[in-house]
Assembly symmetry: C2
Homo-oligomer: 411 residues x 2
């Protein structure tokens, strides 16, 4: 029938792969179907011509991160998220991407996925582009089904995650059973990663987050959930050499992209230590909450600290602050230095603080203060005289450092 010629996709099909092959046959080019997060859903096998980007996508079952990044930068993805029309992409050799056409799959106002058609030897004609659009329309219900199935699984895994976070699962075997039933391979060591947002996360932002989590492929995320203004992740720490660096990097990318792509700012990343025992997920989660709480109290000093470990002395800061305030104790040494500074317009306190901040390194300190090394030496000598302290005693030194930092919060 003429009708069937006009729309060859008005037919039933069992699997998405079958449908990909159908499109491929009609358009005479290799076809790939992805979900909204650039995970591979199906690909045609009928046509063996392809390019490196497509191979990588099929092998990894998702579009490589650098390809996604490039497509964002260069505008393809933003365009696909706006229009229902096909978008043509020019060859980008640096990421192994040949000429192709993409179209987004829509359900109401939401993008469910994408269809990619490689233009290996020839460009698609306008008619073929129209057919592609029809294909995108035809596939949407299938994708919707997949999505709801995935949503159900997601719900179950979120439930599991919350049980773990709140410490409701105490038996190791029970936990492993849950993982198995959700087809999650548990890792031998893990880290809890929390992103604190400035405001509660709404539906739209949640989609952005999911998109980013799926497309940033640096860390393996086992479970995730959202709680008001927090994004909580359970990530695997297996086979990562420099974990701290990796976590820092991941957080930085996440925060950076949330900002540049969606203009969401003020996200604070924080992570727990590494744990092997899944019963300790609750503990790890509490650790991150503690870090967030300390960071919110002392934002300036803890700016560059993201884990409990890194907090160092700030782990105890509110405890110390409270103790000092209760005993209304003043560090005599610091008082004397303050007095001296006041009377002589000097800045011994500042000198001491910078010196201690720089781990008693003369060169660095002098450089930071823009003074001669000998001047610094002289000042330090004066400090030991006036404050009656011995800067070679780690104990006294630490107390000075801590009291210096505490002073800033004496209201």
């Amino acid at each position: 029938m003429d009708n069937s010629l006009h729309d060859p996709f008005r037919t039933t099909f069992d699997s998405l792969d079958e449908f990909a092959d159908l499109i491929s046959q009609v358009l005479k080019c290799p076809i790939t179907i992805e979900d909204a997060n650039h995970r591979l859903l199906a690909y045609s096998t009928h046509d063996e011509r392809t390019d490196p980007a497509r191979i990588a996508t099929i092998i990894g079952r998702r579009v490589p991160e650098k390809v996604i990044n490039q497509l964002w930068k260069e505008g393809t993805i933003p365009a696909l998220l706006k229009t229902r029309e096909p978008i043509r992409v020019q060859t980008m050799n640096e990421i192994g991407l040949g000429n192709r056409v993409a179209i987004s799959i829509w359900k109401n106002e939401e993008v469910l996925g994408f269809i990619w058609a490689l233009e290996i030897d020839k460009s698609l004609s306008d008619k073929e582009l129209y057919q592609l659009k029809k294909a995108a329309d035809a596939v949407k219900n299938k994708l919707l089904q997949l999505q709801t199935r995935k949503n159900k699984k997601e719900e179950r895994s979120q439930e599991l995650f919350w049980k773990l976070l709140t410490g409701h699962l105490t038996s190791h075997d029970e936990i492993l059973d849950h993982f198995r039933s959700l087809k999650i391979t548990p890792s031998t060591s893990f880290v809890i990663l929390v992103f604190q947002f400035q405001e509660n996360i709404n539906r739209k932002e949640e989609q952005y987050i999911m998109y980013l989590l799926k497309t940033i492929q640096r860390l393996k995320i086992i479970l995730y959930t959202i709680d008001c203004d927090q994004l909580i992740l359970l990530t695997s720490a297996d086979q990562i050499k420099n974990l701290t660096e990796e976590l820092d990097h991941f957080s930085q990318i996440f925060v950076g992209k949330m900002n540049e792509r969606y203009k969401i700012t003020g996200i604070t990343p924080v992570y727990s230590g590494i744990y092997q025992d899944y019963q300790k997920i609750g503990k790890a989660y509490n650790e991150t909450l503690t870090v967030l709480s300390i960071k919110s109290k002392f934002p300036a000093e803890t700016k560059k600290m993201f884990s409990f470990q890194q907090l160092g002395i700030y782990q105890f800061f509110d405890l110390l602050l409270k103790s000092r305030q209760n005993n209304d104790y003043v560090n005599e040494s610091l008082r004397k230095l303050h007095d001296y500074d006041h009377q002589h317009n000097s800045n011994l306190i500042k000198t001491l603080e910078v010196y201690l901040d720089h781990d008693s390194n003369l060169n660095d300190t002098a450089k930071q203060l823009n003074i001669h090394t000998n001047t610094l030496n002289y000042r330090l000598k004066r400090i030991t005289e006036i404050a009656q302290v011995n800067l070679k005693e780690p104990n006294q030194k630490m107390m000075l450092y801590i009291d210096l930092k505490l002073e800033k919060y004496h209201v």
Copy 2:
């Protein structure tokens, strides 16, 4: 009468000075009368011959400390405290002491004071020594009167001291009034000094203590009292350059002499910071009690710390310990190092601790550990690798130090 010739001292006299002159006339030599604590009570003026030690005693209204020390070492004072017979002392030029005879003044089993007779040109005959003994007997009642008068004053000053220690006197003027009425000149700055004994201080020990306090002349003691197993002193901090050193020295002498002279051991000295405001005596006292409490909890690490200031980080030690135990947190870095030490029979933990104890000084640390500097350097490099820490970050370093110390108390 023959009787009066035999005992020329059976007579009444108004003042002790008058009596000293009487003895001097009878024995034909200069006479000095001291109380049990070697404070000058009276001296003869009839005979102008004398020696440097006597001059110094009269000028300072007490026997100089070094003279007392010498007389203890050389056995005179211990002998005087045992026998009621006169004791002869040979010239000791190094302390300006000429030949002389001394006798102790007894009331029942207690020594109330001493009479000194200088043998400038001639030695006292046996008859004269016998007369000296009679003089000592005659003067005892006068001394007893003085003592009870002094005791009353002491009682009043102790009462004042307790009021100050417990913070019952809040008005500055009121405090000054009390001082004036007790004829005590208040100093502009003071320190509370507490000696913690191992057991309650009994009557005999109290006498020893009073004796030592009166004879150690390094610090000016304004008020003192005894509370069960504690000796509490209010000392002036005026006109002392290096107060800490002075306090350390005083404590050391006190503890040393209590041991060598009276075999009382296990005394822990402790002192407060310097305060100007007499209303803060209570605060200063509490400070010393805190120090004592911390020292009793962590005796090994706080061995050489005697003031709150010196405690440094140990000021918070029990707070930190409690916090760590509550959160059952383990420092990952230290755990890794411990693991490594265990597996490889190494001693990175020890190395790190000594290094931190020595304020990151390579030379000192290497010397203490009996290893080559390069070995130490190598180990430190390994430590940073294994523990994943940056030893140039004061924050991390401090946390390591603190956790290292805390570990020793994880039971």
